[in-house]
Symmetry: C2
Subunit: 340 residues, 2 copies
C-alpha cells in the first residue's frame, strides 16, 4: 500500500496539514515537529503523489510536444531526435516532464491538441512550425493556453516564438562559398511552400545579389535519393554549378553521391554545404560543411520561456527570440588554394 501524508501524520502524531506544511517548507512549523515529521518521511520513504498535487494545485508538471509524422514515424528525422533529446535534457533541471504525442493525420492531430488542452494533462505546449496552423494557434491563444512556437510565426502576431533566422543563416553559408572562390553557386531546396526551404532560398539570393547573375534554384523532394537524382541532372549540364547549397544533410549526401558518380571531386570540382549539422556531416566524404542551428540553445530558450509563461510571471516583452546559427566548416567547401 502507498504511504500518504495521513500515514506520516499518524505516526508523527500531528495533523495531515502539518505534514503538508513541512513539505512545502512553511516557516510556521516548530523545528522539533518539523524534524520529527521529516525523519518519519525519510523512514517510510514517502513521496507525494503527483496526481493529487496536480489536481489540487492545478499544475500537472508536464509540458507537451506534439509531433506530426509525415508518413509513419519520425524515426528518420534527426531534427526531432535532437529536439526531443534537447528538451528532455533541458527539463531535467526543472520539475517538469515531457509528454510526447504524435499524430498521423491532420484530423487526429487536431484531436490530440484537443485532448492536450482540455484534458489538463499538460501545463503548456511546444509547437513546431510545420504543424502549427493558424487555426490551432488561434485556439490556443483564445484559451490562454501557454505555448511557445519553435519556428517562424509567419502569420500570428502575439505569439511567443523561438527561431533561427534561416534567411540570415543561408546568406552566411552562401557568402562562405563566395569567399572560397566558387563562382557559380546553386541552391537545392524542397518544393515551394515549405517555409524553411523558402527562407533559405531567400537568404541564398540575398547573398548573391550583385555577386552572381544567375540564381540557380532547383527544387526536389526530401531524401538523399531524390537529391541525388536532381543533382545528377543539373551537374550534367555544361554550365553546371561549381558549388551547391543544399536544404539538409541527407539531401547533401545525395548530392555528394551524384558528384562521385559523375567523377566530380569535392570540394575542388564542387563545393557542397547544407543545413542541420547532423552526425552525417562528419561522415560524408572528408566532412560536410553544414549550418548548425544550435538546437540545444534554441530549446533552452523555448523551455525557459514556456515555464515562465506557465508560472504566470509577467509575460516578457520580446516575444520573438532568434537563436544564432553557426557554420560548421568542413572539407566539402575548403577549396584548395582558396584564400585562407
Amino acid at each position: 500500500m502507498r504511504v500518504t501524508q495521513r500515514d506520516i501524520a499518524r505516526l508523527a502524531k500531528v495533523s495531515q496539514a502539518t505534514v503538508s506544511r513541512v513539505l512545502s517548507g512553511d516557516s510556521r512549523v516548530e523545528q522539533e515537529i518539523r524534524d520529527r515529521v521529516l525523519r518519519i518521511m525519510e523512514e517510510k520513504n514517502y513521496k507525494p503523489d503527483v496526481r493529487a498535487q496536480a489536481l489540487r494545485s492545478k499544475r500537472a508538471g508536464m509540458i507537451g510536444l506534439v509531433i506530426k509524422r509525415p508518413q509513419g514515424g519520425i524515426s528518420n528525422d534527426p531534427f526531432f531526435a535532437n529536439l526531443i533529446s534537447s528538451i528532455v535534457d533541458e527539463l531535467s533541471g526543472s520539475d517538469f516532464h515531457l509528454c510526447v504525442d504524435s499524430a498521423m493525420s491532420d484530423f487526429s492531430h487536431e484531436a490530440i491538441y484537443d485532448e492536450m488542452l482540455r484534458t489538463r494533462r499538460v501545463d503548456g505546449l511546444i509547437l513546431v512550425e510545420s504543424e502549427a496552423s493558424d487555426e490551432r494557434i488561434i485556439r490556443l491563444q483564445r484559451d490562454h493556453f501557454p505555448f511557445v512556437l519553435i519556428g517562424n510565426p509567419l502569420h500570428a502576431g502575439e505569439v511567443h516564438s523561438v527561431d533561427n533566422d534561416n534567411v540570415l543563416a543561408s546568406e552566411t553559408v552562401t557568402r562562405h562559398l563566395i569567399e572560397q572562390g566558387y563562382k557559380r553557386i546553386a541552391f537545392l531546396g524542397a518544393r515551394t511552400g515549405i517555409t524553411v526551404s523558402d527562407d533559405r532560398i531567400a537568404g541564398y539570393q540575398r547573398a548573391l545579389r550583385g555577386q552572381q547573375a544567375d540564381h540557380l534554384v532547383y527544387h526536389t523532394d526530401f531524401g538523399s535519393e531524390n537529391a541525388r537524382k536532381a543533382a545528377t541532372e543539373f551537374l550534367k549540364q555544361p554550365d553546371r554549378p561549381d558549388a551547391v547549397v543544399v536544404l539538409d544533410d541527407f539531401m547533401a549526401l545525395g548530392v555528394s553521391i551524384a558528384a562521385r558518380e559523375l567523377g566530380l571531386s569535392i570540394p575542388n570540382d564542387l563545393g557542397v554545404a547544407s543545413f542541420n549539422d547532423t552526425t552525417l556531416c562528419e561522415a560524408v566524404g572528408g566532412g560536410l560543411t553544414s549550418v548548425n542551428l544550435n538546437i540545444p540553445a534554441l530549446v533552452k530558450q523555448t523551455v525557459e520561456r514556456l515555464i515562465r509563461i506557465i508560472d504566470e510571471e509577467d509575460i516578457p516583452v520580446n516575444r520573438r527570440l532568434i537563436i544564432p546559427a553557426k557554420l560548421s566548416i568542413r572539407h566539402s567547401t575548403l577549396r584548395e588554394g582558396a584564400k585562407r
Copy 2:
C-alpha cells in the same frame, strides 16, 4: 474557467454522479437523460480532467521511458529516435501517453527511477537494456511495478522482456556473406562488455564454424571515424579480409570510407554488412546491406505487454519474447558473379 461534471450536471438538471455514469457508459441510465447529458457535454465542450481521473481511479494514463545519455544527448543515436517514435506511434491507439525522461549520471538516473516509481506519475515503465542494472530491476520487482525490458535480461529471471536474437541475426548476415562467396570474413565490433557487440560476435563465430579457420574479430569504439581508422588498419594487411560484418551503420559508413580511400571497391573487393538498417543504408555507396531489427514490431510487443501487465490481466506465461530481425540486402554484399 473550466467546465466540470458539476457544471454539466447543473445544466442538465441531474446529479454529478449521473454525468459520470453517462461518461463511463454505465448502462443503467435512461436513454432520455443520457442524451440530454451528452448534448450538453457536447455543447459545453466538456472533457474530463485527467488529473482527477488519475487520482480517483489510480491510473495515470502514462507510461515512462527513461533514457540514459552517454555524454550529453541522445541526439545522434538513431536507435532512440526510432524507439521513441515507435512507442509514440504505438501508444497513439491506446489511452496511454508517453513520458520521456533522461538522466546523465547514474546517480540522477537512480533518482529519476525513484521519482517515477513512488510519485505515481506513470503506470509502467519501459526499460532499455543498457541502463537496466540488476539493482533497479530488483527494486521494480519488489515494488510490483509494471515494466518491460527491451533487451537481453542477462541476469534477472522473472522479467518480462522483448528482444531481438542478436546472436541469430548476426549468424544470418554472416551466412549471407558466405553464400555470396566471401572467403575471409571479419567482424568489427565495440569493446568487450557491450552486450550487443558480444552477442553479435558470438553469432558471427557460430556462422563461421567449420567454414573459415580464422575468426577475425576487431574491436574499436563507436562512431564512423573510429571505425574508419580501425578498418584502414586491418584492410592494409596482406591477408586482409574480403568482407566485414560491422556492429552498426555508422561504423559501417566508416568502413566504406576506409575502403574507398584504399581503392577497394564495394562489394567486389570488400563486402560490407551491418546492423540497424538506418536511413544511412540507402545512402551509402550503392546501398548498404544491414540487419533490420524491426523496432516497430519490437515496440509493439513491448507496449502491448506492458499495458496488459498494467491492466493486471493475468500475466502471460511466455515472459521472454523474441522479435525476428530481417536482412535488408543491398548493393554492398551483392558480389558480381556470386550465386543468385
